[in-house]
Amino acid sequence: MATAAARWNHVWVGTETGILKGVNLQRKQATNFTAGGQPRREESVSALCWGAGGETLILVGCADRTVKHFSTEEGIFQGQRHCPGGEGTFRGLAQANGTVITCVDSGILRVWHDNDKDISSDPLLEVRVGPGVCRMRQDPAHPHVVATGGKENALKMWDLQGSEEPVFRAKNVRNDWLDLRVPIWDQDIQFLPGSQKLVTCTGYHQVRVYDPASPQRRPVLETTYGEYPLTAMTLTPGGNSVIVGNTHGQLAEIDLRQGRLLGCLKGLAGSVRGLQCHPSKPLLASCGLDRVLRIHRIQNPRGLEHKVYLKSQLNCLLLSDRDNWEDEPQEPQEPNNVPLEDTETDELWASLEAAAKRKLSDLEQTQGALQTRRRKKKRPGSTSP
């Protein structure tokens, strides 16, 4: 039952205790999936991404440096591969053309061949990105382009099919009004669709837009929000604004054309760890350290739609992109229910139909038998002979 329903889950959340949770918002159910049957804190999920082939496979990056493959169709973990090298947890996980791209905290970015059977530990490609990486993000339009950034590690854009040097290396902003160097702490990166621009949010509560196409390597736009480090960011369906979350649980929508605050979302009590917007619907999924997954509606009206308490601290989430959220639950219920409940009654009806055919053919002969049958089973369609 759980395995059949796994594909209908709307949101997949990874927790600190190593459990992958699938949440179905229509049925308001959350199911736990673990690789080994028991939760283990060493396997805490630090990165999630969709695997190849639509949304049937999820790549789960754990703290013990393994990448597990989880099938949403069957609801089981299918295999794992160990990705050694470097120190720290995964800061970014992506898949491109049958390869898996991983980046760890100490700055080792590796590209691995993605097949379960051959668990060879040789990466196809290794790039040193610089220490203290906080995020590695893949460009959805160009799967071989990734961007990395971190604490005292400026934003760099890499082309994995190109040279060893980054395609774009961002420059720090000018010294501030006290002539002090402005520190760098890029916490999250997003690629803006339709152009080459990148947006980052920093631990010093800044949101910056970079344009590799322009000659200036400094940010094209910079705004600030709040007083606390911004930990997560996502693009809204329109493409003109981003939603950022900080360590106090404040969510804000910031317009990128003017650098203005459009509005805030209430509800979270803990640090925001994962944010994702649906590509067409105005829905935002957020998860954080307060152990609750929330779905907000971003426009008309702005507010909370669903709130699900999941008992462990949530680290990252994946929102399914599909458009029809409502139709799914009806389909699997019918094949499940029909064989379970109606087998006996089907047999009953079959026997009664056979009796009806007999009655039509041999009216006079089997009248007595029919009467006894009528006494035993009250047929709704019983006609007088």
Binding site: P229, D290, K311
Partner: protein, 349 residues
């Protein structure tokens, strides 16, 4: 003047009212504002215009009189109803229906979905492997550092001293204007497990920061109602060096469990029952009351208690995931008054 007049001459007032009512009955034609229905007093009760209320009387004195009369009537009726109910209950004896339970804010508390179910395995695993696991597995024993904000005044200093007598294996150090972020690594190297900082404002302690040391959560509380030992009436003699027992009351939600475990990890595992001392952290409506008592069992069921030690009330403001870092740390729970305090029946601990 008016008040005493009212109280002493209530009977006169009543007769006055009756006279007034009688007069008004005669002037019913002129009276746009008549008296309220006086049931049972003057038998000639006039027909007052329907939908009339006392508040429409323009004359303040008359209005006050009418209201007082109405109020006394209400009180009489209520008393009569109570007596009647009591008589009925006595008449029924054992068959009387049980008394209805009065509604209190604690009864009406909105059910919190994060309430911990003792059979829940996931929460049990989460708790078994959190930052306090080393204490609850008896691998470390607590060693506490108590300090204050810079330049504390007398009350705060005395509170710190008294707290250090309550919490075994604790040391008080004067804060010489040192930054907490620099104190913490030093504490870790010296094997301290917890850091308590009592914040002071205008010569009274008003805040408490409790940080579990190796990399544990930091809780920030608002502290109020602080009573030092000499301010506690009928208290016992000073506490001895015995390790006290701990009572943690009413920490039901997941957040409450984390805070409860935090308090439990301040005290050593093995309470010395000879000392008969107990420290209580009682949570009610999100306020945590700290008391320190000495008890003695006079018989199987009767206990006598003496309050020793300081007493204060705490309210959780935020729970931060790492050690103290209010600017860049990640918060597990932050109290947001405008979002969380909208309902009087919803509590978070």
């Amino acid at each position: 003047m008016a008040k005493s007049g009212d109280k002493s001459s209530s009977t006169e007032k009543k007769s006055l009212k009756r006279k007034a009512a009688a007069e008004e009955l005669q002037d019913a034609a002129f009276a746009g504002d008549g008296a309220t229905e006086s049931e049972g007093q003057p038998p000639k009760a006039a027909a007052f215009p329907p939908g009339f209320s006392i508040s429409e009387i323009k004359n303040k004195q008359r209005r006050h009189l009418m209201f007082m009369r109405w109020k006394q009537q209400q009180r009489k009726e209520k008393l009569a109803a109570k007596k009647k109910l009591k008589k009925e209950r006595e008449a029924l004896g054992d068959k009387a229906p049980p008394k209805p339970v009065p509604k209190t804010i604690d009864n009406q508390r909105v059910y919190d979905e994060t309430t911990v179910d003792p059979n829940d395995e996931e929460v049990a695993y989460d708790e078994a492997t959190d930052e306090f696991a080393s204490y609850f597995n008896k691998q470390t024993s607590p060693k506490i550092l108590i300090t204050t904000s810079d330049r504390p005044h007398g009350r705060t200093v005395r509170l710190c001293e008294q707290l250090s007598t309550v919490i075994p294996n604790s040391h008080v150090y004067y804060r010489r204007g040192l930054a907490l972020k620099k104190i913490i690594p030093q504490c870790i190297t010296r094997d301290f497990t917890d850091l308590i900082v009592i914040n002071e404002d205008r010569k009274t302690p008003n805040g408490l920061i409790l940080s579990h040391l190796p990399n544990g959560p930091t809780a920030h509380f608002k502290m109020s109602s602080v009573r030092l030992r000499k301010e506690i009436k009928r208290r016992g003699k000073d506490p001895t060096e015995h390790i006290p027992e701990i009572i943690l009351n009413n920490f039901t939600t997941r957040l409450g469990h984390s805070i409860g475990r935090m308090f439990a990890s301040l005290f050593p595992h093995n309470p010395q029952f000879i000392g008969r001392q107990v420290a209580t952290f009682h949570n009610q409506r999100d306020y945590i009351f700290f008391r320190f008592h000495r008890y003695i069992f006079r018989s199987e069921k009767k206990v006598g208690i003496q309050e020793l030690g300081p007493r204060f009330t705490l309210k959780l403001r935020s729970l931060q995931k790492g050690t103290f870092d209010s600017k860049y740390g990640e918060y597990e729970w932050v109290h947001k008054p405008r979002e969380m305090d909208t309902s009087r029946r919803k509590f978070h601990l």
